[in-house]
């Protein structure tokens, strides 16, 4: 079925003219039509004629032998990337009707590579959340179900819409953004591959900012090879983003199949968190064994400042977010609540435009930057961040990649973990350190837990060495042979 392919398979099928880009796009539009009301994975689905027109253009290029890297491949776009002429909401009431007159650099590259956009995927409001329950447009449903239990599970977050769409066959792949785990954790919860590239690898221009020093766009796909392919299309220097890297973009699409023989894989002791579920620990051990069998050398390493990762992340990210979100003041764009004074406009607009989690983080960020608290919180956190980064750099003097679990649990149910924000923030415990260090990291699905829910392992690499991450991910993927499908899937029951 067309909705069950990988990007790589679909690319080959299109090139061989086994099916057309129009057929492929139509199959996805149909699947979205059937399943999106349940999953709520998309906030906006593009008009059918626009999607098909893009597919037709791709077909024409295939016919003339001028097909591009992503030509005709239907993908979802996280609704945090500004898309020209297409409503871009950040899943916030604040931007409920915002139509950008510009295209983000990452989506512009994907369009240039021939991708066919299906729509804008749901997320936690302004990418703040780990369960996709803070969207102003409703929660996203994880297409997976626990065995013998119909509880509605969360898809993870913040890129929960993208993860659910890719897992359920509503897109061959989707873009995500990752600030503290927002690509990797939902990928793990939904049984797909999610790659957070090195900070600076993908331009941030035109992507709505959450925490500028951490935000990074990346691919969410069904295979490691797909992640390489899509990253190759997304990445590259952008003079409009001062923090983007001008390093050349390697052929990531060819990295997944490379041999990992002789590579040194580090196992960081500090990730053996007390209270880690037995199944997670077992899966990790299994991953280590697979890589050893593939010829890797496994080395114990230490990242001594890991335990401070989450606390410092929840200082730095809110600090930046409190400033980044100041522009949503109702004056120039977005929703405005009128009042008789300027301060009144600000207060009403922001109180009504932002949801509770966003308001929480703005408050936390404002607090940690305040006079009298700056040194104790923000400055201290920046110093610890430097130490965390140094941990990684030193570890990578000994090893080529690190292997850890992606998340401390499988997908949980809507309503669980909801009372205590700290419990919710613990979801990011394994993903945050790599974000703080700016190094690339990828989650690969490797198996199911006892209740039939997918689990992911995380491979962390050196700065700008996504290729090795992809190679090791490919080896893990091959060994695990993860072929499970979620309960809700475009191909199920058709």
């Amino acid at each position: 079925m067309l909705t069950g392919l990988t990007l790589t398979e679909a690319r080959a099928g299109l090139a061989a003219r086994k099916f057309s880009a129009r057929e492929l796009a139509q199959a996805h539009l149909d699947a979205i039509g059937r399943l999106n009301t349940q999953l709520n994975a998309y906030i906006t689905v593009l008009p059918e004629q626009d999607v098909l027109a893009a597919a037709d253009a791709a077909d024409a290029r295939y016919a003339s032998g001028a097909a591009r890297l992503m030509d005709g491949l239907p993908v979802g776009v996280k609704d945090l990337f500004c898309t020209k002429g297409v409503k871009t909401t950040a899943a916030s009431k604040m931007l409920a009707n915002f139509v950008p007159p510009y295209e983000s650099s990452v989506t512009a590259r994907l369009l240039e590579a021939g991708s066919v956009f299906l729509g804008k995927t749901n997320l936690d409001e302004f990418a703040m959340g780990s369960a996709n329950i803070t969207s102003a447009f409703g929660s996203v449903l994880n297409p997976w179900k626990r065995q013998g239990d119909d509880a509605a599970l969360v898809p993870g977050g913040s890129s929960g819409g993208s993860a659910a769409a890719v897992a359920a066959g509503l897109a061959l792949a989707a873009t995500g953004t990752d600030t503290g785990g927002s690509i990797r954790q939902p990928a793990a919860f939904c049984g797909i591959v999610g790659l957070k590239p090195t900070y600076g690898r993908c331009s941030r221009w035109g992507t709505i900012a959450f925490a500028s020093s951490l935000d990074q766009a990346g691919p969410m796909t069904r295979s490691v090879a797909d992640a390489g392919l899509m990253l190759e299309a997304m990445a590259g220097f952008d003079e409009k983003d001062s923090t983007s890297s001008n390093r050349p973009v390697p052929e990531f699409s060819k990295a997944a199949g490379k041999s990992v023989k002789g590579l040194r894989v580090g196992i960081p002791a500090e990730y053996r968190a007390p209270g880690m579920p037995e199944e997670i620990a077992k899966m990790w051990e299994q991953g280590i064994a697979w890589l050893r069998e593939a010829g890797c050398e496994v080395v114990d390493v230490s990242l001594p400042h890991t335990k401070y990762g989450l606390a410092t992340y929840y200082i730095i990210a809110p600090a930046e977010c409190s400033s980044n979100l100041a522009r949503y003041d109702g004056i120039r764009f977005g929703e405005r609540q009128d009042a008789s004074t300027l301060d009144g406009i600000y207060e009403r607009t922001r109180a009504e435009g932002f949801g509770p989690e966003v308001r929480n983080r703005i408050l936390m960020g404002t607090y940690v930057l305040s006079a009298g608290y700056y040194d104790a919180y923000y400055l201290k956190a920046q110093k610890v961040r430097t130490l965390i980064k140094r941990d990684f750099v030193q570890a990578f003097e000994q090893v080529d990649v690190l292997l850890t679990p992606t998340a401390p649990s499988a997908a949980f149910a809507q309503g669980e973990n909801m009372d205590d924000p700290v419990q919710m923030y613990l979801n990011d415990i394994f993903t945050v350190p790599a974000s703080m260090a700016g190094v690339p990291a990828m989650s690969v699905p490797v198996g199911l837990d006892s209740r039939g829910l997918p689990l992911g392992l995380q491979i962390i690499g050196r700065h700008f060495d996504e290729e090795t991450v992809l190679s090791v991910g490919g080896a893990l993927e091959a060994a695990a042979g993860f072929a499970h499908k979620p309960a809700l899937h475009a191909e199920a029951g058709v």
């Binding site: 990337f81 500004c82 871009t88 950040a90 931007l95 915002f98 950008p100 007159p101 510009y102 983000s104 941030r204 221009w205 035109g206 992507t207 709505i208 900012a209 925490a211 500028s212 020093s213 003079e239 409009k240 983003d241 001062s242 923090t243 600090a319 930046e320 409190s322 400033s323 979100l325 100041a326 522009r327 003041d329 004056i331 120039r332 764009f333 300027l342 301060d343 600000y346 404002t366 930057l369 305040s370 006079a371 700056y374 923000y378």
Partner: protein, 484 residues
């Protein structure tokens, strides 16, 4: 100390430091490609970055950095090869991002000095603490609607240099001299047009008072004073206000004040309690700004000659006094005009024509040096006519006035009016003979010892020749005829 406030409890001195916001001369804004032209239609020069649309990012404008470095070099200041941008967070309708990008902890320029000159002729050095780059805000317009304010973002994001002085200023006059000198340097460098009326240069004034020998007392900041005269007035009235508070047993509060020029007083704008907490932190959208020493050196090598150096050179090259040289270099355009006139000519004669007759003519006709009816080249030609004896100094005045009126060349005017100096000794002799014949009695007096009458005869001969006679020839001939 020449400026003191005499209070009931004794004498007080004033302590003043200035923070000057100078708009950078550049084609585009500090972090966007939008134009900076003054006076365009509201909101016609606003990029998506300036309006802080979602996902927009700042990219530093290299030319603005060069301008800041040039200014730092012109202020004899340390250039920091690594500097950083911070966000200054506050909400206002003219501030689209909700923060101003500024350099708080690591400015691009460190300590420097400016030498000022007072009316007494005395010079003083005023320390510069730092210069940093930041974004200007937009403008609110309140007179377009009865209930609403309008926002114009044309100015939002234009580059500013904030130039902070040490609290070295001890007199209102010094503050004025400092601002004039700073403006002069900025204009010479071409880094700011220094136009205070258009707001491209604005001053915040920090004022405190103290008894001689005391440490600093609490200061107040007077925001956005927009002329040099007002800065001097504001310092006077604010210092007097503070003295009165202290002497009445009160305490000066650290606060931000406004100067009301119409009433001649300062008023509270924000008390300390209402002071913003700007929550400065490094802007994560921008990398540290790193510049190369070679680039700084190249900018330095290409700097124009600055006023102090030019003044010294004018003194030595053209043999003119310190004071005159100062008048000439006050404006670069005047200095350039003078130099065109003086080059290869009599520098002293040139300065007296430029600062005397030319300035008077400009004043009278309401023109500036840039729109002068007499070009530097034409004035130079006129000096040549004096030097080669074609006209004398007196006739030159007449020629010059004609040049002012008609804009014609001095040669043409001399020809047209027949003003060529008479050097024909026959004509001069005839004139002398005529004068002596008409004034036989005075000739007799002269010859009997009243030699002061010589001047009378010179005057009469000049009159007889309609002023055109060469004065030296007249002198010689008269002397020989009278003494004969």
């Amino acid at each position: 100390m020449s400026y003191v406030i005499e209070g009931k409890t004794g004498s007080w001195e004033i302590v003043v430091g200035l923070e000057v916001h100078a708009q950078v001369v550049s084609k585009s804004k500090l972090f966007s490609g939008a134009s900076t032209t003054f006076g365009a239609e509201p909101n016609s020069q606003v990029s998506l970055v300036d309006a802080a649309f979602p996902g927009m990012l700042p990219v530093i404008n290299r030319e603005c950095v060069a301008q800041a470095v040039r200014t730092g070099l012109g202020l004899n200041a340390r250039i920091n090869l690594e500097s950083r941008f911070d966000r200054k967070n506050y909400f206002y309708a003219d501030l689209p991002q909700g923060y101003q990008i500024s350099q708080f902890a690591h400015p691009i320029v460190g300590e420097g000095t400016i030498e000022i000159e007072l009316s007494s002729g005395e010079t003083r050095k005023i320390g510069i603490t730092r210069l940093h780059m930041e974004q200007d805000a937009g403008k609110l317009i309140h007179d377009q609607d009865p209930t609403k304010s309008m926002v114009d973002l044309n100015r939002a994001g234009v580059a500013l240099m904030e130039i902070v002085s040490e609290p070295d200023i001890r007199e209102p006059e010094e503050a004025g001299a400092y601002l004039r000198k700073l403006r002069q340097i900025l204009r010479y460098l071409g880094t700011c047009d220094g136009n205070m009326e258009e707001g491209s240069m604005r001053a915040d004034v920090n004022v405190s008072v103290r008894k001689a020998g005391e440490p600093f007392r609490t200061r107040c900041e007077i925001k956005n004073v927009n002329s040099i005269r007002f800065v001097m007035q504001a310092i006077e009235v604010e210092a007097a206000r503070q003295v009165e508070i202290w002497e009445n047993g009160g305490e000066v509060d650290q606060e931000t004040r406004l100067f009301d020029a119409a009433r001649g007083e300062t008023r509270t704008m924000r008390s300390k309690e209402d002071a913003h907490d700007y929550r400065y932190f490094p802007d994560p959208d921008l990398l540290p700004l790193v510049i190369e020493q070679d680039w700084v050196d190249a900018l330095k090598a290409a700097l124009p000659e600055l006023p102090d150096a030019k003044r010294a050179r004018f003194q030595s090259d053209y043999g003119i006094p310190f004071y005159d040289a100062g008048v000439l270099v006050a404006e670069q355009s005047v200095a350039d005009f003078y130099e065109t006139v003086a080059k290869g000519r009599d520098g002293k004669l040139a300065v007296s024509w430029v600062t005397g007759d030319l300035f008077a003519a400009l004043n009278r006709t309401g023109k500036t040096i840039e729109t002068s009816p007499v070009s530097a080249e034409a004035l130079g030609q006129m000096l040549d006519l004096i030097a080669d004896g074609t006209i004398n100094g007196k006739i030159a005045k007449e020629v010059f006035e004609d040049m002012v009126e008609t804009g014609e060349s001095p040669d043409a005017i001399v020809e047209k009016k027949g003003l060529r100096q008479v050097t024909d000794t026959g004509v001069i002799d005839a004139a002398i003979d005529a004068v002596m014949a008409k004034n036989a009695d005075k000739v007799a007096e002269y010859r009997s010892g009243k030699d002061k009458l010589f001047g009378f005869f010179v005057g009469q001969v000049m009159k007889e020749t309609k002023g055109k006679a060469n004065p030296a020839l007249v002198n010689d001939a008269l002397k020989s005829k009278l003494d004969a």
